[in-house]
Structure formats: structure tokens, C-alpha cells
């Protein structure tokens, strides 16, 4: 008997951690218990992207989209959705603004997905990443076959050129050019490398792609091998991503069994194979030259360019190195053509971009949108706006190398060049939303601290510069900054941009320079008025109890970790300012709004 229903359970890291595995097992035993195990196939897929509402379970063909599912819900999902053929209303996702939709649920109405276009994430949430058959059933490895039998290396390069694909690892360098350089160099050996180091804290696009669709990266790298004349691929991946590593290993194994890897692929005479190398928690190893030194087993210190890796890379051999997301685009470009890809996005940035939308946003998750989508569409339409009805303040893109986008740029179309023009950068795709409770100096300080820790120390401008910048920010956050300090931030930052050896040091001042430009008033408030309007800089905050509003419930004094709040029961309390550690526990605990933050 044919299978009537498919149940897709999210098996991405975020959902797995919120018990997707238990849900999967509970569903399995329920279908048996209710005697429908022959009608249903339960599949563990990659990330659906809607991490805010995870774990997610989707039932096909009716496309019921269940959110925040628990193992206890399994029984009802099977008895209602499968046995009786009707949706479990209480688990269906409905946009908060649209409560009435509950009765005629339609997946098409979910705003989170409406403006998304899925090329990179085409298979994430649809297939079981641990089964190569499912990838193949969705045209997997068809691009490789086409390349091996119907295209010359020059045809491939030309298709990439027409597509306009640019590197998604941050810099946006045209992919066809890199491949072409390597192709043009004579060498007994060449390498294809995948950069899966994803060091930007707060970004997880590459992780989800590898977890949800590992074969797309393998296929693309093999295509590159054929194009430039390389037989060996190396995937450099963060050790912090055990699930992605496991799925890659399974994928490589299965591809070998199918003859899609190894010697004489599909009888074409072309051979290619892979090795996985683990990173070890150093941000600078995302930089391509440092990454290559790390694969070679050394401290991951960058080396000057030129020579570029395309000419002299791993073990001194010509090496193509691309980011996970860049790779994942390639098979689709080969199958659907460069023209098709170029028709999506903006003139100079074609295709889509995956962003990890996080921070103070209602719908945290992975979103893939055409280049040129505006920030407003991403934050308010897809992201559902700011949490708890707070006011939007800024979005940080490009992580520790990027900058902030303010209110004024909500309608700017987002692509490589627009972001650079306004002092931020695309980066790898982290998009962190801040609200009025976030202090811009505190955020800049956070990134600078990160850069201090991650600077490899090889060049002085970065090693000393990051430390100096951090110290100045720290001073400002303590209310001790001067106008001279603000000037110094710019002088030092601009010097680092010119003098640092690698991208880390050259871009480390960006979060500061960009916030100085767009939030100068906030810096000045810290310096001149010793005020932090967000109340984040502890030395500048003062908590006081309004005796008019305090009813003497004693909750605050019980919450205070240092016991600095005193007062009789049913009498107004007061805070001993000399003891207060400004933790804000009283502020959060008071139900009567009697505690004032200033």
C-alpha cells in the first residue's frame, strides 16, 4: 500500500535541542499504536528556518504546520491529522495579527515565508539529509552529471559568469573569477576548499545548510574540481557543529557508494574525493589564508596576499576556496542556467542571501530573500517586528566586521554594494536586531572585546589597536570618556583599516566607526551628561524607589542580591546607593513600577 501521509520533523540543531528527537520517536510509536504505520512515513529533515517557534512538525500533503510541538502532542497529531484527516488546531501556526485565520489555515498565509525565495535552502526542511536518495529525487547530482558529460570547464566558468554569483562569505568576490584563476595555473595538484568556519557569533546559516542539505555542497565542490582540474576537496568546519559534521560524513559515505565520488565518477574518467578537517574555535581561521594554515596543522595565522590562494593555497598549491552558501548555489545555477540566477536580485548582486535573523525580533530564524529586499521587509514583514512592542533601534550586519543600519535605512535595498556604501557590510549573514533597551556603546564594546580575544597577535595594528579601542569604549561606558577619546576612536580605527595585515584587523573598527557615525548623540550623552539612556552601562545607571508608588511589598528587598534595599513592611523602601551593584533585579521584580531607572 502506498504511503498516504508524510510527517516532517525538524532535525536542525536548534530543534533537536528542543526535543525534536523525542518527538520523532513519540510519533513513530504512535503510528504503530494507532495502526497506521503503513500509511505514514516520518522523516527527520533539516531546519525549517522558523527557529523561534520550534520544534516544528509538518504534515503532508495537507501542509499542516505545527509549531512548538512537544512529545506529548504526538498522540493527537496522529489521531487527528492522520487517522481522522483534520488538523490539530491548537498546534497550528497563525500570525499573531491574524487570529481569525485559524479556521481556514493555509501555509501560504504564513508571513514568515511569504517574501522568501529559497535557492540555497531549497531542500532544507523537505528532505532527510541522511538519505542521498531524497537529494537525488529532487534533482540532486543532476548538475554534476550535466557538467561531466555535456559541459567543458570553460562552459562552467561561463555559466557562473553569466549568473553573476558573488562569494557569500563576506567580501562578495565574483566566484567565476576565482575559479578561472585556479584553472589557469599549471600544477600537478590543486585543491577545492569549503569554508564552513562560520565564526560570526550570532550567525548559523552555514550550519543549517550543511545540516539540512550536505549533498548540495559536495556536489558543487566536485563540479569545481572538474572545472579547475582538482581531485581533492577539503571541508574545514567548526568543531562546535557536531551534527553538521556527522551529516557530512554520512553524505560523503553515501555519495561514494553511489559512485558519485571517488575514482572515475559515473564512468566519466574524472576522480574526486573529500576530507573533513575540524576548526578549533578561532575566529581568524575563517579568513582564508589563516584557514589554510590551520588545515596544514599550524596556528591559524593569516599570511599576506598576494600570493592569493587561487594561485598558491593549501600546501602551496592552487586552491579554490568558497563559503558554504556560495557552494550551495552552484548546482542550481548549472541546472537552471546563469541567466535565470541573474534575473533574481539586483543588478550587481544576483541571487538570494540567507540571513540569520536574531535579537529582539518576534520571529527569529533563518530567512532567504532575493538581494535587494529592504530591511523593513525583513524586520517587519518576515520578522514580525520588534519583541514586546518595543521601538526598533538598529540592525547590526556583518558581525564584528560590520556596522549598524538605523531607522533611516529601513527602505534601502540590501545588497553587497548598498551595505558597503552605508558603512556596514553583508558579512556572512548575521542580522541582529536591537531595540531601545540596547545601548549602542555596549554593543560596540561587545564586538571590540570579541576582536581583542580573537586577534591572532601577528600584526601590531590589530593586536594593539583592538585593545586600545576597547579600553576607550570601556572608559566611555563608565562615564569617564572625553571628547579627545571620541577623536582617538576615529584616528586609531582609520589607521587600523589601512595598516592591519588581514581582514580581521582591517574591519575590527567598523562597529565603532559606524555607530559613531549614526549614534554620535548617544556617545556624547555618555561623555558629556554621563547618561546611558538604555540603562545598560551599569556605572551610569541609578535605581531609585518612588515612595509614592512603593507599597512596601518587600519583593525588591528579597530579590536584591547584596541586601541594599531596606524598609518596613507596608512602608516605602529605599536603596542604599553606596552598596547597589546595579543589577536591576529590583527593577525587574517590582510589579508597581515604583523603581525608577535613570
Amino acid at each position: 500500500m502506498a504511503v498516504k501521509n508524510f510527517i516532517l520533523v525538524c532535525g536542525g540543531t536548534a530543534c533537536e535541542s528542543s526535543k525534536a528527537n523525542d518527538i520523532f520517536n513519540a510519533l513513530k510509536s504512535e503510528v504503530e499504536a494507532q495502526g497506521v504505520d503503513k500509511d505514514v512515513q516520518i522523516v527527520k529533515t533539516g531546519c525549517f528556518g522558523f527557529c523561534e517557534k520550534g520544534p516544528i512538525v509538518k504534515v503532508l500533503p495537507e501542509e499542516a504546520f505545527y509549531v512548538e510541538v512537544t512529545p506529548e502532542d504526538a498522540k493527537e497529531i496522529i489521531s487527528e491529522s492522520i487517522v481522522k484527516g483534520r488538523m490539530v488546531k491548537r498546534l497550528l501556526y497563525v500570525d499573531d495579527t491574524d487570529k481569525k485565520k485559524e479556521d481556514d489555515f493555509d501555509i501560504e498565509n504564513i508571513k514568515f515565508y511569504q517574501k522568501q525565495v529559497r535557492i540555497v535552502l531549497r531542500n532544507c526542511g523537505f528532505i532527510d539529509p541522511e538519505k542521498i536518495e531524497e537529494y537525488i529525487a529532487r534533482d540532486g547530482y543532476a548538475a554534476l552529471e550535466k557538467v561531466l558529460f555535456d559541459m567543458s570547464p570553460d562552459d562552467v566558468i561561463n555559466e557562473l559568469k553569466v549568473s553573476g554569483l558573488r562569494g557569500r562569505g563576506g567580501a562578495g568576490f565574483p566566484t567565476w573569477m576565482k575559479w578561472n584563476f585556479t584553472k589557469g595555473v599549471e600544477s600537478d595538484q590543486k585543491f577545492i576548499v569549503c569554508n564552513a568556519d562560520e565564526g560570526d557569533p550570532g550567525a548559523y546559516m552555514d550550519r543549517s545548510t550543511l545540516e539540512g542539505d550536505p549533498h548540495s555542497v559536495l556536489e558543487a565542490m566536485t563540479i569545481a574540481g572538474y572545472t579547475v582540474g582538482a581531485n581533492k576537496g577539503v571541508i574545514y568546519i567548526r568543531a562546535e557543529y557536531p551534527l553538521a559534521i556527522k551529516r557530512l560524513e554520512i553524505a560523503i559515505e553515501q555519495a561514494r557508494e553511489y559512485g558519485l565520488l571517488g575514482e572515475d565518477i559515473l564512468g566519466s574518467g574524472f576522480s574526486f574525493d573529500f576530507e573533513i578537517r575540524l576548526g578549533a574555535g578561532a575566529f581568524v581561521c575563517g579568513e582564508e589564508t589563516a584557514l589554510l594554515r590551520s588545515i596544514e596543522g599550524n596556528r591559524g595565522m593569516p599570511t599576506p596576499k598576494p600570493p592569493f590562494p587561487a594561485v598558491e593555497g593549501l600546501w602551496g598549491k592552487p586552491t579554490v576556496i568558497n563559503n558554504v552558501e556560495t557552494w550551495a548555489n552552484v548546482p542550481m545555477i548549472i541546472l537552471k542556467g546563469g541567466k535565470w540566477f541573474n534575473s533574481i536580485g539586483t543588478e550587481k548582486s544576483s541571487g538570494t542571501k540567507v540571513f540569520a535573523l536574531t535579537g529582539k525580533i518576534n520571529n527569529s530564524g533563518l530567512v532567504e530573500v532575493p538581494m535587494g529586499t529592504t530591511l523593513r521587509e525583513i524586520v517587519f514583514d518576515i520578522g514580525g517586528g520588534i519583541k514586546d512592542g518595543k521601538k526598533f533601534k538598529a540592525v547590526q550586519t556583518g558581525g564584528p566586521s560590520g556596522g549598524v543600519l538605523t531607522n533611516d535605512f529601513l527602505d534601502t535595498p540590501i545588497d553587497f554594494d548598498q551595505l558597503t556604501a552605508i558603512g556596514s557590510m553583508m558579512g556572512s549573514g548575521g542580522m541582529i536586531v536591537m531595540d531601545e533597551d540596547d545601548c549602542i556603546i555596549d554593543v560596540a564594546k561587545f564586538y571590540q572585546e570579541f576582536c581583542v580575544e580573537e586577534s591572532c597577535g601577528k600584526c601590531a595594528p590589530c593586536r594593539i589597536g583592538t585593545r586600545k579601542l576597547y579600553d576607550i569604549l570601556d572608559k566611555i561606558s563608565k562615564g569617564k570618556g572625553t571628547h579627545k577619546d571620541l577623536e582617538n576612536l576615529e584616528t586609531i580605527g582609520n589607521a587600523m583599516k589601512k595598516a592591519a595585515l588581514c581582514g580581521l584587523g582591517q574591519t575590527a573598527p567598523n562597529p565603532i566607526l559606524s555607530t559613531l557615525k549614526y549614534f554620535k548623540d548617544e556617545y556624547l550623552e555618555h561623555v558629556d551628561d554621563k547618561v546611558c539612556r538604555a540603562g545598560k552601562c551599569k556605572d551610569l545607571v541609578r535605581f531609585e524607589i518612588d515612595p509614592e508608588k512603593c507599597i512596601g511589598c518587600t519583593v525588591c528587598s528579597r530579590k536584591c542580591p547584596v541586601g541594599c534595599i531596606s524598609g518596613e513592611r507596608k512602608q516605602p523602601h529605599s536603596i542604599d546607593q553606596s552598596q547597589c551593584v546595579k543589577c536591576g533585579a529590583c527593577y525587574a521584580a517590582c510589579k508597581f513600577g515604583a523603581i525608577k531607572k535613570s
Partner: protein, 162 residues
């Protein structure tokens, strides 16, 4: 130092054959260190010496690599290593408060171990579950959207397991 005498540490069969397999491959050191840390939870000095002999690599180079990468640990962590995420998303949603509270509750600082050897605290950068921020991982189990008030119970549960 008596580096040429045989180091007093046993490697499991699997670890030894892993090293054997990787020995001929260039750039094997980091992969081998990962495997050693998987076995011991950190990289004991004796193990580093043994690796140096097995791979014929200077001990100085091994320590150069271990100290460069944040992932490698030189000290034994607690039985339950508590990793609090301090990536950007988690930081904005109060990751620092979690660390402070954890320090208060356990009476130890970051990278320290409780006297009974049960707990240690580590601050890590983005574990890739930013949608669940703030995130904390204890002994491989992920806790999402954690609040300060939940911490005592989480600790108590692990303490019960001993």
C-alpha cells in the same frame, strides 16, 4: 625535563589506531588533538608528550597549537561543563546575567571547577541556536530561552545525578 621517558598515560585502542591512521597525513596535529580531547575532556600534559612522540612533532609546536585555539583545554573541566553562550544574540538577551548568576550559585568563576569536581563554567561563542537565545549547554544538553530563575533547579538536577 624528562621528555624521552615514556609518558605515564594510557591511550585507548581507538585513539591509538586513530593516530596510526592520521600519522601519514600532512597537517594531522589538530585532528589528533581533537581526538585526544574527546577522550580525556582536556589535553593532559602527559598526553601532549605522548602525541609529540607518536607524531614525531616538537612539544613546543603542540603547545603552540593548543594555546592558539580556544577549543583546546589545558585543565580538566568539571564532570558537568556548563557552557553559557556569549554570542551576539545571546549577549543581547542576557547571556551575561546567566554567567553572573551561575558564578554566584556555584561560587566559582568562568573556567574554574567546583571543589567536588562536579561543575565548571565556560563562556562560549555562538553555538548556532541563536533563535533560542539565551542558550546554555550542560554536558551536551541544550537549554534554550533560559532565565536566571531556572538555574538553581537545573543545577540541582545535575547534582542529584551526582
Amino acid at each position: 625535563m624528562a621528555v624521552d621517558t615514556a609518558p605515564q598515560i594510557e591511550f585507548s585502542k581507538e585513539l591509538e589506531s586513530f593516530i596510526e591512521e592520521w600519522k601519514p597525513k600532512p597537517g594531522n596535529l589538530i585532528m589528533v588533538l581533537h581526538r585526544v580531547q574527546e577522550e580525556f575532556g582536556y589535553i593532559p600534559r602527559e598526553a601532549a608528550i605522548k602525541v609529540s612522540q607518536l607524531l614525531d612533532t616538537p612539544l613546543a609546536k603542540i603547545y603552540g597549537v593548543i594555546t592558539f585555539y580556544h577549543f583546546f583545554k589545558l585543565d580538566k573541566p568539571g564532570k558537568y561543563n556548563i557552557q553559557v553562550c556569549m554570542g551576539t544574540a545571546c549577549y543581547l538577551k542576557g547571556g551575561e546575567d546567566l554567567i553572573n548568576e551561575m558564578e554566584n550559585l556555584l561560587g566559582i568563576g568562568v573556567n574554574e571547577v567546583t571543589d567536588d569536581g562536579l561543575f565548571s563554567i565556560e563562556s562560549v561563542r555562538c553555538v548556532g541556536c541563536c533563535g533560542l537565545a539565551p542558550v546554555m549547554i550542560v554536558d551536551g544538553e541544550v537549554f534554550g530561552k533560559v532565565t536566571k530563575d531556572e538555574l538553581p533547579e537545573i543545577i540541582a538536577n545535575y547534582r542529584k545525578q551526582g
